[in-house]
Symmetry: C2
Subunit: 303 residues, 2 copies
């Protein structure tokens, strides 16, 4: 017996969120279109990967929807700490890399997981990775996320913001990936919260995405940039690659469990650079950005 909403309703809504986001981002971009790549998973289910390349604003953007199911493998049982035979998982996962280094990279993910013994939970998150931090914009980003959280539960923003600081962190660089955002996992597990509430929250997040990102794009898309700033962008993208390949749980779980490689790695930028021991000049915009890639910054109230 399924509690309301059931997996079919969740899958349907997440699929619609993918469409909505692609539509809104296409019309914002003005040139690029998201190609459609449908795939099925050996073992059950499949997905629709949508990718934009070489738009006006977006150099490489991926919006992946999947709804997969199948036997719980021993690796999955261990990694997800579930003890069941069959699982179902659906979600939308997004990474967008802009051309202009003044436009930030953005990531969002909403997902739902259930097993045949009645266990279920929601997970997700959204985080912003500016190549150059603009305090007002980081503040705007966090305020919008707080609005979505506050609509459901006043304690969430602080909690999920802290979880994002901890999750989107690159230990070997001692840097956060960007200015953070929110992150949550295993939400509503063991009926700790009403399923409907968490589902609505995740849909609200998904629908807030295009509004937030198109606003940030509008503020920055016409800012001029030079070669030096492009190089810095590629170096920051290198850090993004490091985070995703070394630490990101979704990426690593996907690769290790024989997931669809192209859909998993669509998060990687078109071009990334590594320079040995790069250190930005004292007082430069690059150095100021680095200084703020720290956990625990109160982006809403500090500026």
């Amino acid at each position: 017996m399924y509690s309301v909403p059931d997996r079919f309703e969740i899958e349907k809504s997440y699929r619609e969120i993918q469409s909505l986001i692609c539509e809104k981002m296409e019309s914002c971009d003005g040139r690029g279109t998201f190609i459609k790549d449908e795939w099925s998973r050996r073992g059950g289910g499949g997905g629709l990967t949508r990718v934009m390349s070489e738009g006006n604003v977006l150099e490489k953007a991926g919006v992946n929807f999947s709804a997969v199911e199948g036997e719980v493998t021993p690796m999955m049982a261990k990694s997800l700490k579930v003890d069941a035979a069959w699982f179902f998982a659906t979600g939308v996962s997004i990474v967008m890399h802009p051309k202009n280094p003044n436009v930030p990279i953005i990531h969002m993910n909403v997902r739902y997981f259930e097993t045949d013994d009645g266990t279920y939970w929601f997970g997700g998150g959204i985080d912003l990775t500016p190549h150059y931090i603009v305090n007002d914009q980081a503040s705007y980003f966090h305020k919008k996320l707080k609005q979505v959280c506050d609509k459901y539960e006043p304690s969430w923003y602080d909690k999920f913001k802290k979880e994002a600081d901890d999750y989107f962190f690159i230990p070997h660089r001692n840097e956060t990936r960007g200015v953070g955002g929110i992150f949550y996992d295993h939400l509503a597990e063991h009926n700790s919260l009403p399923k409907q509430q968490i589902f609505d929250f995740s849909c609200d997040l998904g629908r807030a995405f295009p509004e937030i990102y198109t606003h940030l794009i509008a503020l920055n898309r016409d800012e001029p940039f030079n070669e030096h700033q492009k190089e810095w962008q590629k170096l920051r993208r290198g850090r993004y690659v490091e985070f995703n390949l070394v630490y990101d749980r979704g990426t690593r779980f996907g690769l290790m469990s024989n997931g669809r490689t192209e859909s998993i790695l669509m998060s990687l930028p078109k071009e990334a650079n590594w320079f040995y021991d790069f250190n930005p000049k004292e007082g430069s915009p690059e150095e100021l950005t680095l200084r703020n890639l720290k956990k625990g910054v109160d982006w809403i109230n500090a500026f």
Copy 2:
């Protein structure tokens, strides 16, 4: 009580091998020089990282020497399966990324590890990653490695070649990293082989490196190349990044154990690219190369 050769002799020889390789590669390159970056490790020991950028032939090349020691951490005990209080490790680690896509990427590593309870072993390997496979050159590479192996023990080449096929493999791409080479680990552990023999073998490998790579450079450095080939090179470098960050044991152990990040990640190329679902044209040189990125190719006898 130490068996001969002791850690001091091994460290000294590996240090000399680093110098020799840098010298020979500088004179081959004709323009680039290896800068010297000395570092020390909190906890004991240190190293000398040498990096060339923007040479005639070598776009980014790193030759790292380290000799570190300290307390065996719980993570190290688990990962290396040792039960001792103090360790010492020394080695030379090399990755070279050429500018011209007709010149292959090369990697080599020789290392020695011991603990205060008398345990010790040698590990290492060398493998070649051509952007475009040339059968004769892959064959030459393997013959040279076989020569070094055969000088010590006729069974080694086959054994270590198979281990390299298994190790330098990217499961999520179902591709080998390149045409393989040799790989060995825990050699001479439990006095299974004479320490002197394995030490001499590792030094011979180190000294063979510049001869082998300068020969491969000489064959290819003046080959013309175009933008399309450069793009393919950057895509292959993307795969190299994937292998190193997702699977390479040394890289992951280094990052997780708070090693010196810049020395560990000097293996990453200056520029790497990712395109969504790239598939080379049927019958193109790129596709022919992809087809041969497989385990179990007998490079010496097949061509």
